[in-house]
Symmetry: C2
Subunit: 232 residues, 2 copies
């Protein structure tokens, strides 16, 4: 289905950014660090629920609301507003994963157009990439805030394709989240799953075309996938 | 909008069933008990992602798949199949919350038709109610497995209304989950939020018509809501 060098569409949260420091933010408030993962899963759960119900809300609004609920119930927090602000501030200051800078530069040098497509705001992606010195490699930071719906609704991916002026089949969605791979595949995009931890891929989601351990493997894998030959 | 005694539609998981024992199931495997909450949030996240992408999968299939992934990554588990089976078995043997038996019987005695509507299977709800001696109070145990989509997609609620032969406005959805309240409200149902823990209601979801601390408060609150008078 591919024709020419595909446009690479990066998911942002956890795919480019390393969320590991979030546990520290919770710990600094005296709350269990493991709440960080529950928080992020719950934010997506609520955002997807709104999407399934045909609605939408800004990621940051849901993130702060879920956080407030969790800290009120599970945290021993005196000043709830300050605590929410502390965690949200940390979310806006995350580093990229170590494999990201080299991988992104190599993809750009290989001639790929690069964009991001996040359920979060474009501003968070802009800041993340700027702080990693990668902003100039990325053509556009796209957010579903300008699309008709969040990922994994098909319209979010269609929006990115339209903005980039290509068909979905001319794009490859790169993400650590199987739900994103699934949604992109169903929207007609090619897909690459970054599996940094080496885990199983859930059977309830459409499988990725490509599986890599980090962004750095993508240039060669994409080149190999596009090389004509007797491959399946 | 109501006319006559509303049909009461119960959500099942966490609304009727007490999920607290699930932490013990994880602990018995040597995995952290707090994974139980992360597991359930992740199952709903993945189920809602499929719903948002226009697809569906059985709850138990997603639940087992997420569990397998989590135990493989975070659990120190020798036999993964047996571990998954151990947790899933616990999910099928949960008790109801203490406020449920008296509350359900009082609603039935007050003349409400009672049904359940779950994203899980009807069989799990049947077993839960039977073990609590409440099966005869419930007219039908409905599952989204027979509907066009999971809750909170509007079509799941419309399915329940159609099966019961009433308009959505003639039903009141009872749930602990704000995402379920939101979806039901947008589908035209009346809503009652059970807030057993006394937490804040997230601002990104439509608010419930009624808030109660347990099922036992519902008969009087529904009767009061339906009494004509100078209430707002």
């Amino acid at each position: 289905m591919s024709s020419g060098t595909p446009v690479v569409v990066f998911d942002v949260n956890e795919t480019l950014s390393d969320m590991a420091p979030m546990a520290g933010r919770f710990a600094e408030l005296g709350a269990p660090g493991h709440l960080a993962r529950l928080w992020f899963a719950t934010v997506l759960r609520d955002g997807f629920a709104l999407t399934a119900a045909g609605r939408s809300a800004p990621f940051a609004e849901i993130a702060a609301g879920v956080l407030r609920d969790m800290l009120a119930r599970d945290g021993d927090v005196r000043d709830l507003d300050a605590a929410v602000a502390h965690v949200m501030e940390g979310f806006g200051e995350l580093p990229v994963h170590p494999d990201v800078p080299g991988g992104v530069r190599a993809l750009a040098e290989a001639g790929h157009r690069l964009v991001t497509l996040s359920n979060g705001s474009a501003a968070v992606a802009e800041r993340l990439l700027a702080s990693a010195g990668l902003r100039e490699c990325i053509e556009r930071c796209l957010s579903v805030e300008a699309a008709p719906a969040w990922k994994p609704d098909r319209r979010a991916y269609a929006y990115a394709a339209e903005i980039c002026g290509v068909e979905p089949a001319g794009m490859v969605l790169v993400a650590v989240h199987p739900w994103d791979i699934d949604g992109a595949a169903r929207a007609g995009m090619r897909t690459a799953w970054i599996d940094r931890a080496g885990g199983p891929y859930p059977g309830h989601f459409a499988r990725p075309e490509i599986v890599v351990g980090g962004v750095g493997e993508l240039p060669l894998r994409l080149a190999a996938a596009d090389r004509p030959g007797p491959r399946r």
